[in-house]
Amino acid sequence: MKNKKKLSGNYFKDFGTAVAKGDMGVKLSLLVMGAGYFARKQIINGLIMIALEIVFIMTCVFYAAPNLAKFGTLGTVQFEQVFDPLTMTSKVNDYDNSFLILLNSIIALFIIAVFILVYIGNIKAVYRLQVRKEAGKHINTFREDIRALFNEKFHITLLTLPCLGIILMNIIPILVLVAVAFTNYDQQHMPPSALFTWVGWKNFKQLFTNSTTVTFGYSFGKILIWTLEWALLATLTTFIGGILMAQFINNKKTKLPKLWRTLFMVAIAVPQFVTLLLVRNFFADSGIVNTICSNIGLTDFLKSIGLVNSNLTYIPFLTNPTWAKVMIVLINIWVGVPYQMLIATGVLMNIPVDQLESARIDGANSFQIFWKITMPYVLFITGPSLITDFVKNINNFNVIYLLTQDVYVTSDQLLANSNAKEVDLLVTWLFRLTNEYYNYKIASVIGILVFIICAAFTLITFTQTIKGNREEDFR
């Protein structure tokens, strides 16, 4: 933290020195970007900078200013449509679209922030040129500047496009959603026909309140617990299952290990959405499994021991909350174990053989070898990926959505009031809130909370990976 403060301190100090000690060219650059380049006869650089400044000013006047002016209220002019009986057309007034104002304002703020960075960088660069000139050093021609972009400044060339993509696809959407969490954007306030506006922390409060009409607090608690249970169960079962299966197949006593491995691979070679949709129909209330179960008397047996409600004629595999949760975890094992087996196979093949040999010579049985040597080794290699898997499972949209959408109907009125189901994860709940009920404000709040949860888990793993200097070790 201290380091960061020092860095940002230096950042502005350098800027100050540049302004204070700069000559005419540098000082003129404060007003006309590029002036400093002209002073050093870098005409093309100067022209580029001037062009940039003109484009920026145009953007400010025609794009940023009109949007930012309405940013405080998110628009005041309501959509109105007047039917003109003379021309038989309807006329629409010059209305405000709150969402577009929000989106454009955020993009505009982003552009302004980037421009400020470029502006400061420009002054510093121009000052650096002045210093070089005073010291009698060589000043790059434009051609040399371009060449530098493929050499010592290659990182700029390489990162520009990916960064633009990330800004467009990740950063701006995230900023928009964080902003939406503080507005009343929902079905009653849908642009273009209606306006929405800022409401402060109200949505966060709503998510944690419980009353007869608002049950978000109740649903959030229930779904959060199930999400964490699911993530833990899904991660551990597939991980352990994968290792056991890999160990079982790779064992010297197993004949034709390749054949067995291929058999399990067939199941995951089919795209996940196909298998999940298929399995959903496989276990449907009137599906094939239920027919077989009732034919062999399993349904009646489960009824007699009370696992299935006696007034049902089928096993509610995916329609009863408890059954559905168990089935989802089991189906996930079915989907996930072969993947984990493949990874575990790769890891197991690389176990140092000498350790296993010496343990065997010392008289350890295979059970001891597995727990004392194999498992610690596998955990060491795949440990970090366990937490990544855990976070992925918190956001495992496909398994839950494809298995339960259109199939599972909740009977809990409190959950139904907030459009949730017992088997929902936070992300599927969020998806339904937006995609079916247009409740963007609450969905955004949930998204922010999911992010905080995931971030907490991920940071634990990655602080070590990044901060530790391990990346140099392997070379």
Partner: protein, 280 residues
């Protein structure tokens, strides 16, 4: 004697597990050859066999089934997504792994934190961004959505590049090669396994993705869809009884190229990832 019993038990257990893993797939395949259109709930194996479902898939397009168009859409999107995302991933991972510049670690941590934001959530905002520039329901829009953020998934490739010896690059430096030359002539050829992995991985995204496509391709016109949405739509409550076996046929067809690529990818994944990390 004890040995053979153990061996039989071991293989029986494996066979039992294999059956569990294969039964749904078997059901998929046999249903796709069924002469009956909807779900056969009474028998595991169809009572009449026919190739009608495959014929319907390719030669009898209607308002619900447009398999040829879906395949073409998905293929086009997949090819361009694959090119763009692989280049982005390579560019970012090379920068983060081999180049040293101010703010590198800051950028890396920032990327990781950004990547933790649930994709499903930002999708809705992505949809609005794309809608405001008029790119929903288009191939270009899908390609952008799938590939623009690809740079964030650099960790695995970077990990692999971290294992490439620095002395190679230093030698090239001394010979006067520029960073760009080193990137194209040394690092890329040496990273082959992980590049193949990245290529196949990004190629598979549009074939398996469901959520994003459902949000972005919302025109309701079947010819615009990708395979995933098309097949999902067939299982709609009102359609499932008419189209279930066609869905199965579609599932079988899409699995063939995908599984081939998948097997290939796993080979390179194991080679690239575990090969890289085990050295530590």
């Amino acid at each position: 004697m004890k040995k053979t019993v153990g061996s039989i038990v071991r293989h029986l257990v494996l066979a039992f597990l294999a059956v569990i893993w294969l039964v749904p797939i078997l059901w998929l395949v046999v249903t796709s050859f069924s002469g009956y259109k909807g779900i056969n709930t009474a028998h595991f194996f169809p009572e009449t066999w026919s190739l009608n479902n495959y014929k319907a898939l390719f030669f009898e397009p209607d308002s619900v089934v447009q398999y040829g168009a879906w395949f073409k859409n998905t293929l086009i999107i997949a090819i361009f997504t694959c090119i763009v995302s692989t280049s982005f991933v390579l560019m970012v991972s090379y920068t983060m792994s081999c180049l040293r510049f101010k703010g590198r670690k800051g950028l890396m941590s920032f990327g990781i934190i950004l990547n933790m934001f649930p994709g499903v959530l930002s999708m809705i905002a992505v949809y609005f961004v794309m809608k405001s520039i008029g790119l929903t329901n288009s191939h270009l829009g899908m390609i952008i959505v799938y590939s623009a953020g690809a740079g964030l998934g650099y960790l695995i490739t970077k990990g692999f590049m971290d294992t490439i010896s620095t002395s190679l690059r230093e030698a090239a430096w001394l010979e006067g090669a520029s960073e760009a030359t080193i990137f194209f002539k040394i690092i890329i050829p040496l990273s082959q396994p992980i590049i193949v992995y990245t290529i196949i991985n990004s190629f598979l995204v549009p074939w398996g993705d469901f959520v994003l496509a459902k949000l972005m391709l919302n025109s309701g016109i079947a010819t615009d869809w990708t395979i995933a949405i098309g097949l999902f739509n067939m299982l709609n409550k009102s359609l499932v009884n008419k189209y279930f076996s066609i869905f199965c046929a579609g599932g079988v067809i899409v699995s063939i190229p995908i599984s081939a690529l998948f097997v290939l990818m796993q080979k390179f994944y194991v080679e690239g990832v575990t090969g890289g990390s085990v050295k530590g």
